[in-house]
Symmetry: C2
Subunit: 364 residues, 2 copies
């Protein structure tokens, strides 16, 4: 029953802005938070978009888990380093506030590095890192998350999916944007297998007691495994250091749960950085070299059945280009849920196109 409806990017943006404004966010903050969810959805990341996050963000804003009127502050700033306090505001708002400071530092000194504390879930990391790309810089972003991933040698979770993102400005072949969880897969993939009544490959997850499982149902109740065993576990620890330890934020199990404790701030930490390419090479020369690297990789021999070798960020960029034209697909239950949110807040319903029947708008 998924992909039954489509919505235009501009309409989804209008809708999300009004929803967040109705939750008492300033117009500017409502726009930033709306953009985060729309961009996530537009790039095919429902787990970081409207589909999974809008109703939760609204509930948290209403119940105190996210502060709708944060008074963010720069706690310290020295050269290319600094710490910001997000005052429990929406993670997207805190993220852009920190990234503003990062870019200011990088324009002056060639790089900027800012850690954020007292923040909340911020959506997809690439949205912050790619702001550096727009200025001819390399962007960097990490965030901590509540522990659901086993350490190497463990049978209970120690760290979160702790994503790491590098965003590199490219030339004609596009930017190189790696935004990856340090677990083998995101939990969403296991939940999808549950819905589709499929097994999961061994190595994705363990059950609640820490035993390896191919059952999606048991895996969904259990925990994730780190990618590449001790390597992903090691990288998750590094992400925790940047995001949580360095920022003075809550660390690992201290981080508040997003989907349960709706009235409790998460105390979450993130980390943001930018590195100016022109401090190394003229940007045009760099872009040309990026094109050559990407063309070289894509020209290497393909495995049987593989039509094209893709580089990081390419699948998402293609989805976004397609959805900008055809509209963004939304599952029926997602549309129902967000129309209910709109009705409760007195916001004009989302204008969607129904693809499977003549009735147009779904009934609530």
């Amino acid at each position: 029953m998924s992909d039954t409806y489509r919505v235009q990017e501009s309409e989804l943006t209008r809708f999300c802005r009004e929803v967040f404004a109705a939750c008492d966010l300033s117009p500017e903050h409502a726009a930033a938070l709306a953009d985060t969810l729309v961009q996530g959805e537009l790039h095919g990341l429902g787990s970081h978009g409207v589909s999974r996050l809008l109703p939760t963000y609204v509930q948290r804003l209403q119940r105190g888990g996210i502060n709708p009127r944060p008074r963010m502050r720069v706690l310290s700033r020295r050269g290319t380093t600094g710490v910001v306090d997000g005052d429990d505001g929406p993670g997207a708002v805190v993220g852009h506030y920190a990234m503003d400071l990062v870019l200011e530092m990088a324009r002056e000194h060639g790089s900027g590095w800012v850690a954020a504390r007292n923040s909340t879930h911020f959506g997809a990391a690439f949205l912050y890192a790619r702001r550096a790309v727009a200025e001819g810089m390399i962007g960097y972003c990490t965030t901590a998350a509540i522990p659901i991933v086993l350490p190497y040698g463990g049978r209970a979770p120690a760290l979160g999916t702790n994503p790491i993102c590098f965003a590199i400005p490219g030339g004609e072949r596009g930017d190189l944007i790696l935004d990856m969880a340090t677990s083998v897969v995101a939990r969403g993939k296991i939940q999808l297998a549950v819905l589709e009544r499929k097994d999961i490959p061994l190595g994705w997850a363990v059950d609640h007691d820490g035993n390896p499982t191919t059952s999606a149902v048991e895996g969904a109740k259990g925990y994730l495994l780190p990618m590449g065993a001790y390597k992903g576990y090691g990288l998750a620890a590094i992400v925790e250091v940047f995001s949580s330890v360095l920022s003075g934020a809550a660390v690992a199990a201290e981080i508040g749960a997003m989907f349960s404790d709706m009235d409790k701030p998460q105390g979450m930490g993130h980390f943001f950085g930018a590195l100016d390419v022109s401090g190394f090479l003229p940007i045009d020369e760099f872009r040309e070299r990026m094109d050559r690297l990407i063309e070289y990789i894509k020209s290497t021999p393909r495995a049987e059945g593989v039509e094209e070798i893709l580089v990081a960020g390419e699948p998402e960029a293609r989805k976004a280009a397609l959805y900008r034209v055809e509209g963004i697909p939304l599952a029926e239950d997602v549309v129902s849920a967000i129309q209910q949110v709109a009705a409760d807040l007195g916001v004009e319903p989302l204008q969607v196109i129904c693809e499977t029947g003549p009735e147009g708008m779904p009934e609530l």
Copy 2:
């Protein structure tokens, strides 16, 4: 026949210094290169130590593949960014030259980021990154390498094992040092399986035609797979950007082979960085928070049969502590090879302790 001999760290250092001085390196450069190989071996990384590299480095120094008298230069420097030219010198010498600049920048601006071109193989990445740790900073290091790893969806190599290293200063629990290749395993592990006549797990390597294999022999003739499939592949591309593209160095297949073209400089690129912790938190508070993170991770429940959950860098640090007391183990064929190198160069033989027989020094 391995681990038959032991050598003291100080004696191995004396020996390597004399070998490299006999290859026309300045005393300072001979000491830096010696230290790199001794530290690699001391930390249990024979693949990055005397065992695998000494005879090759000597051959390359003699035949022109490494310039023994490099005139290194800072090509550009602005704020926290810069590029150095290694003049085809030993990678370790170039690495420390770049890291000197990085640390100078970081002391002034809170961070420093330097790319190096015209370099050669530099041993283990952690040796450069951990210099930042000694100053209460986070260290970062990447290097490109010749392509032997498949891209996701490929059947021929596109990128090298392209390691990435983060080094974090710790407290009483020690530093957190992640130094990992972005392939599932290093090629050395497959070569070891060949020697031991064992199969390798599916997913480590492919044969020369790009087909998955459990044969160590076929895998050793073939190529490595990236860790975590598209994730390790994506990370390897990011490492290539930092090390090769940004530095203006040779990229991927342009990099010279270390073990074959002995008379040809490699044109290799690396990247080095440091981030001053005190720009975020007082260093003592940070160290205490690191201790808490490490203690928390190590206290999580262990899988059956696992005695202890380790953090990144812990196995290597323990090996180094042990070998400092007991001596560094060297395999018999390694000892034979390096004594031959010494004899050819007129250097006093390495004083080793033979553990398996009464005869003391091995016969050449």
